[in-house]
C-alpha cells in the first residue's frame, strides 16, 4: 500500500542510491585514468594527483547534494 511517508522514504532511498551510483562510476573512471598516467609518467605524479583530487571533489559534491536531499526528505517523514 502506498502511503505518504512510504513514498517519501522511497524517494529518499532513490535520491541517495542514484546519486551515489553514477558519481562512483565517474570517480572510478577518473581514478583509473589518473593511475594509468602516473604509471606512464611517474615524474608528473604530483600535478596529476592535485588535479585528481579536485576532480574527485567536484564529483563528490554531486553525491553530497543527493545526500542532502535524502536527509531533507527523511526529516519530513
Amino acid at each position: 500500500m502506498l502511503t505518504q511517508s512510504g513514498l517519501t522514504a522511497l524517494a529518499a532511498a532513490i535520491a541517495i542510491a542514484v546519486s551515489t551510483m553514477f558519481p562512483a562510476l565517474a570517480q572510478g573512471l577518473t581514478a583509473k585514468a589518473a593511475m594509468e598516467s602516473i604509471a606512464r609518467q611517474p615524474d608528473a605524479a604530483k600535478d596529476i594527483r592535485s588535479s585528481l583530487i579536485i576532480s574527485l571533489a567536484m564529483m563528490e559534491a554531486l553525491t553530497i547534494y543527493g545526500l542532502l536531499i535524502a536527509f531533507m526528505l527523511i526529516a519530513k517523514i
Binding site: 592535485s50 583530487i53 579536485i54 571533489a57 563528490e60 559534491a61 553530497i64 547534494y65 545526500l67 542532502l68 536527509f71 531533507m72
Partner: protein, 224 residues
Amino acid sequence: MGEKSEVLFSLFGVLDVTGEVITMWILLALITVVCLIVRKNLSERPGKFQNMVETGVEYLDKFTSDILGKEKSRKYFCFLASLFVFIITANYSGLIPGMGLTPYAKAPTSSFSVTIALGIIAFVFLQAAGLRCGVKRYFKRFVSPMFFMLPLLVLDEFVKPASLSLRLFGNVFGEETVMEKLYEILPIGAPILMMVLSILFCALQAVVFTMLVSIYLEEVTEEE
C-alpha cells in the same frame, strides 16, 4: 537545512549564540594561544614544537605557491592559510569523542550557517582581489570571449561560494550523522571505523576548500 541548532543565549537580543558558536570560540582561542606560544619562543635554532609548526607552514606555502606562483602566493598566503587552519581544526573538532552526541557540542562546520559564512567570505575576497587587479580587467573577464557569456559567467560567480559551502557542509554533516547512527548501533567500537576514515576526509575537505579558493583566485587575478 540540517538539524536545528540549540540556542544557548542571545547577544543583544538578536544574535543567537549556539553550541557551534561556542565551539568555534574555543577553537579560535586555542589557535590564538598556539600562535602566541610559538611567537614568544621563536628562536634561530628551532625546538621541537617550532619545527613542527614551521613544517606545517612551509607545506602550506608550497601548496599555495604551486597553484598561484611565488609572488601572488606571498600576497594572499595569510588569507588562504587561515582559511585552511580554521576549517581543518573545525572539522577535526568533530572527532573528539562525544562531540555531536552531547548537547551544545558539535563540529562548527557541520552547521550550514558556518559554511555559508565561509563561502561568503571567500566570495567577497575573490571579488575584492579581482577588483584590486584593475577594474577594467575585472569587468572584461565577464564578457570574454563572447558577449553572450555574460549571464553564465555572472551566475558562475555566485555558484562558486554556494558549491564550496554545500560541499563542506554536506561532507562534515554526513560524517557526523553516520557516526551518530553507528553510535546508536554499538556505542563502543563502531564509531571508530568512521573516525579513522574521517581523519582522512576532514583533512581532504580543508585541502579541497583551500585549493578551490586558490584556483578561483588564480583565475580572477590572472595576468594577460
